[in-house]
């Protein structure tokens, strides 16, 4: 999706809203879990009833500090809540408690791998705020309904500098950030369910120009693909407008994923005046050195470091390390397999092949943390051990793997029950070879006449004759001796 903007260059910044994985909401004791019956997780506080007051969930501050430390931000020892005022039915109080002029984190960065190079994207700020409820239209005749379960779920807003130049860089930044918040255990990163949301600020300017062009904000992108495609569309649209001698207006546009286009939602003249002011119901948030030290010491190994370690300690190719560390739980799974049986490359191959295929098929990756793995790591390790000690072939292992999905047996038990033990005795294999050669005299003649590619055919026939159990290298060796001898 390389984009040629001619004499223009693009400037992209992203605002990400990440729902925090706290047990309860930010300002009340209601559950913050997704998926309950409408309005089941509500109380007078998150419904904005008269006279009730917010009380801060301390975990939210801890999570924000975690995110800030992992992105090299400065943590403000004293930061403050602000009210963002606007009317909307899903906004219970008529204002959102957010942070404005004194956010908790400022000035960090994220290193992002794009096309083999590392791009540093600076962060403007990270702040804490409450989520809104959700309007539900078209489900109840002419009326709209509101579900306040999400009202008061804690959010981190992560704002980047306009440091990205292409849709691919924006996508890579977003993926890197999602992996990071998942590693930190502060967000499940689910874009479809809306727990990881992204708005993009996009502008173009003539190459070499330093002043920024007219900024357009794009909303309503609910997948990585949407983000990349929406930005690409918008850049092309802006260049087209300018090329035709037109003027761009500062506006907010919505991405329509079906029609693959952005549409104007509101222009600057109709932009909200949010009338931010310090929230008088909440004292400033004081972040002590002790809290920062405690959070820092409890930070998990971050994706970048883990990737490097997988290459260095396990001898994995960088690509494998990248894939395996894309999720913290997947990387943990890999390490558990290797701990039980130290063949890292085999473990990587099985995970990157069959395990990830099954995870995708079963949509297990939609969970914040995968717990019901298709095959337990110890079982996968035991199976790889059976391959490595010659008990089964890699081909038989495919059968064993499929069996493990259906039964609770160990790989060894499956091998024994189904009689899958590899045949490594020369006798039965030689017998099978004789039988195959006898059945195909014409092909034997062709091969001997120089048609080498028929060798594979004979290997296949021998394997088939032994029920797939013959030791493949041995088959190769004996067959070669027989045919060429």
């Amino acid at each position: 999706m390389s984009l040629d903007l001619g004499r223009y260059e693009s400037v992209i910044g992203l605002e990400v809203h990440a729902e925090m994985l706290t047990a309860s909401k930010i300002f009340c004791g209601c559950s913050a879990a997704f998926g309950a019956a409408p309005n089941a997780h509500t109380c007078p506080v998150c419904l904005g009833m008269p006279g009730v007051l917010p009380v801060l969930n301390r975990r939210v501050v801890e999570f924000a500090v975690r995110a800030g430390l992992a992105t090299h931000c400065t943590i403000a020892a004293r930061n403050r809540w602000a009210r963002k005022n606007y009317f909307y039915p899903d906004l219970a109080k008529g204002y959102q408690i957010s942070q404005y002029e004194l956010p908790i984190c400022t000035g960090g960065w994220l290193d992002v791998a794009v096309d083999g190079a590392v791009k540093r994207v600076r962060l403007t700020r990270i702040h804490m705020e409450e989520d809104t409820g959700k309007n539900i239209h078209d489900a109840h005749g002419d009326s709209s309904l509101v579900d306040f379960n999400r009202s008061g779920v804690p959010l981190l807003e992560i704002v980047s500098e306009p440091d990205m130049a292409t849709p691919e860089e924006a996508g890579a930044y977003l993926r890197t950030l999602r992996t990071l918040v998942q590693y930190l255990g502060i967000c499940d990163g689910n874009m479809e369910e809306g727990s990881f949301r992204c708005d993009a600020n996009v502008s173009v300017r003539p190459r070499g120009e330093t002043a920024l062009g007219v900024k357009v904000e794009i909303k309503n992108m609910n997948s990585f693909r949407s983000v990349e495609r929406a930005i690409a569309f918008e850049l092309r649209r802006q260049v087209a407008v300018l090329d035709e001698g037109g003027h761009l207006v500062q506006e907010t546009r919505l991405w329509d994923a079906d029609r693959e286009e952005t549409r104007s939602m509101r222009t600057k003249e109709h932009a909200h005046d949010y009338r931010y002011f310090p929230d008088p119901d909440l004292p400033p948030v004081l972040v002590s050195e002790a809290l920062i030290a405690r959070v820092r010491s409890a930070l998990p190994e971050l994706p970048e470091a883990r990737r490097e370690r997988f290459v260095a300690a396990f001898g994995l190719p960088p690509y494998d390390a990248e894939v395996l560390t894309a999720r913290r739980d997947l990387a943990d799974y890999f390490e558990a397999v290797v701990a039980a049986h130290p063949n890292a490359k085999a473990a990587s191959n099985w995970i990157m092949g069959d395990v990830i295929r099954l995870i995708r098929e079963r949509k297990l990756d939609e969970a914040a943390t995968i717990t019901d793995w298709p095959v337990a790591p110890a079982r996968l390790a035991a199976m790889i051990a059976l391959i490595d000690d010659g008990t089964i072939s890699g081909k038989i292992a495919k059968t064993v793997f499929e069996e493990m999905l259906a039964s609770d047996e160990s790989p060894r038990a499956i091998v024994e029950r189904k009689g899958l033990v590899q045949v490594s005795d020369e006798g039965p294999i030689l017998a099978a070879i004789e039988q195959v050669l006898a059945a195909h005299p014409d092909k034997v003649a062709e091969l001997r006449a120089g048609k080498d590619k028929l060798f594979g055919f004979f290997v296949g026939q021998v394997m088939k004759a032994t029920g797939g159990k013959a030791n493949p290298p041995l088959v190769n060796k004996l067959l070669a001796a027989k045919l060429k001898g």
């Binding site: 419904l47 009833m49 008269p50 009730v52 007051l53 009338r275």
Partner: protein, 493 residues
């Protein structure tokens, strides 16, 4: 014989309830009878909770009989301003927009009164969302001053004051944002107190201006006031602005007397436009305290003149945001048609809010708007700091300040409704302590030529409730103004 409730204090009633010469049920019936007989005139209540009151009284009697009624408020009929949420009982904040709204929760202060065994007889009338100085802004009609029903009781906690002054309850809770307890206490001849900001929980109290709102008591004596304050005060984990510090035994502070007390009299609080007998009564009150052994000196609070302007920027800014939740979506009235969301908001809020509330929402919205924020909201915050520093400096040299409560005594209904600025200026002497978050009590200290009560305001440093109560008690001990009753309720003292 059961005494008329308006003739008896909490302290007296508590003693008689324990001696068995009075029951909570009889006392409550007397209060309810008094409400039935007088509320057509006084308009103290938006909702009378007779059944719940009778049940609470019977429960209090059982506790009193078994000796488990620890609080002096057990069995005492009280009124609660209708901005204070009461579970299962309509809570309107004096507004049409909350008509029929029944909260599923108690405000912490209501819960604490109930836990003490107090008998809530009803929800007291008030200016809509506590915005007003005369109780004329209530959507449920005005409350009237028992001393002269053609006059206002002061606001915004007008009904809380008239309920006590009119003998319908022995004490009540009001809220004070810029003077809303102190002004009605002064106009109705009562003791009324605004505690230090953070001393009493705001949880469940319909917010007007969150950085200023405080709940406080009305009572007939300083000791009664201290008992109610002691019941409602204290840290509440549900209000992050309530302060986590121990609540002193307020009534223990009362006995210390005036001797050795250092009292400051701010010169800026005696202005040209004042009613002469108000100034006279307040100066006489200061002399009384001096006579009782207090050391009096003049002090200066130079930024006082900016307090009203500062208050009306900050309070309205906060109000514009606090009142955004009344949108017709979740509770209260809704005026909707088929013209969409914006029309629903407009119609609901147009029909639900009164003129003064709309005025303040507009003022506050303006003060917070892009391009005006620095000139109004931010500037007012800076002025607030200067006002607070004035007080800090004064309290370096004195224990409490003694001042008038308002420039005049109670004015007539309708007298100031056409001129909002004149109405706002009624708060000129009460706004400063609100902005500084200070505790302030009002005690009756005289009457004007028309026989209307005059109040003395005593202001203390942050969490200086004990000094304030001590000074007030010393004054009460030296005078009889607190014994005075409105004329039609038993003659003047």
């Amino acid at each position: 014989m059961t005494p008329a409730p308006h003739d008896i204090t909490i302290v007296e009633a508590a003693a008689r309830l324990r001696a068995g010469s009075l029951t909570a049920e009889a006392l409550t019936e007397a209060a309810l009878a008094r409400i039935a007989a007088t509320d057509g005139t006084l308009g103290s209540f938006i909702t009378v909770t007779a059944d719940a009151a009778r049940a609470a009284a019977r429960a209090a009697d059982r506790a009193l009989r078994t000796g488990t009624a620890a609080s002096p408020l057990a069995g005492i009929p009280v009124a609660v301003k209708d901005v204070i949420a009461t579970a299962g009982v309509q809570t309107t904040a004096g507004s049409r927009i909350l008509e029929g709204f029944v909260p599923p929760y108690d405000a912490t202060v209501a819960a604490r009164l109930k836990a003490a065994g107090a008998v809530i007889v009803g929800k007291a009338n008030c200016d809509e969302f506590a915005m007003g100085s005369s109780n004329e802004n209530s959507a449920y009609g005005p409350a009237r001053n028992p001393w002269d029903p053609t006059r206002v009781p002061g606001g915004s906690s007008g009904g809380s004051a008239t309920a006590v002054a009119g003998g319908q309850a022995l004490a009540s809770l009001g809220t004070d944002t810029g003077g809303s307890i102190r002004l009605p206490a002064s106009y109705c001849g009562l003791v009324g107190m605004k505690p230090t900001y953070g001393r009493v929980s705001r949880y469940g109290v319909v917010a007007y201006a969150s950085s200023l709102d405080q709940v406080g008591p009305f009572a007939r004596t300083v000791r009664d006031c201290a008992l109610v304050l002691g019941t409602i005060a204290g840290h509440d984990p549900r209000d992050s602005t309530s302060v986590d510090r121990p609540v002193p035994a307020f009534d223990a502070a009362l006995a210390a007397g005036a001797a050795g007390l250092r009292i400051g009299v701010p010169r800026e609080y005696f202005t040209d436009g004042m009613q002469p007998d108000v100034e006279g009564a307040v100066r006489a009150a200061v002399d009384t305290l001096a006579g009782a052994g207090a050391a009096v000196r003049e002090v200066s609070l130079p930024h006082s003149e900016y307090a009203v302007a500062c208050y009306y920027v900050l309070a309205t800014a906060e109000a514009s945001s606090n009142l955004a939740r009344y949108d017709g979506v979740r509770y209260g009235i809704r005026r909707a048609g088929d013209e969409g969301l914006l029309a629903m908001y407009r119609k609901t809020r147009a029909a639900g809010f009164g003129a003064e509330v709309k005025r303040r929402i507009m003022l506050g919205t303006y003060a917070l708007s892009a391009g005006y924020y620095d000139a109004y909201y931010l500037k007012a915050q800076k002025v607030r700091t200067l006002i607070r520093r004035d007080f800090d400096r004064a309290f370096a040299d004195v224990d409490v300040l003694a001042t008038p409560v308002a420039p005049t005594t109670a004015f007539r209904l309708g007298e100031k409704t056409a001129d909002p600025l004149q109405m706002y200026l009624v708060d000129v002497f009460t706004n400063p302590a609100s902005l500084a978050g200070l505790p302030a009590i009002v005690v009756p200290c005289g009457r004007d030529a028309a026989g209307l009560p005059i109040g003395l305001q005593i202001v203390g440093p942050p969490f200086g409730e004990e000094a304030v109560l001590r000074a007030a008690q010393a004054f009460e001990d030296a005078t009889d103004w607190h014994r005075a009753r409105p004329p039609e309720l038993g003659g003047r003292a």
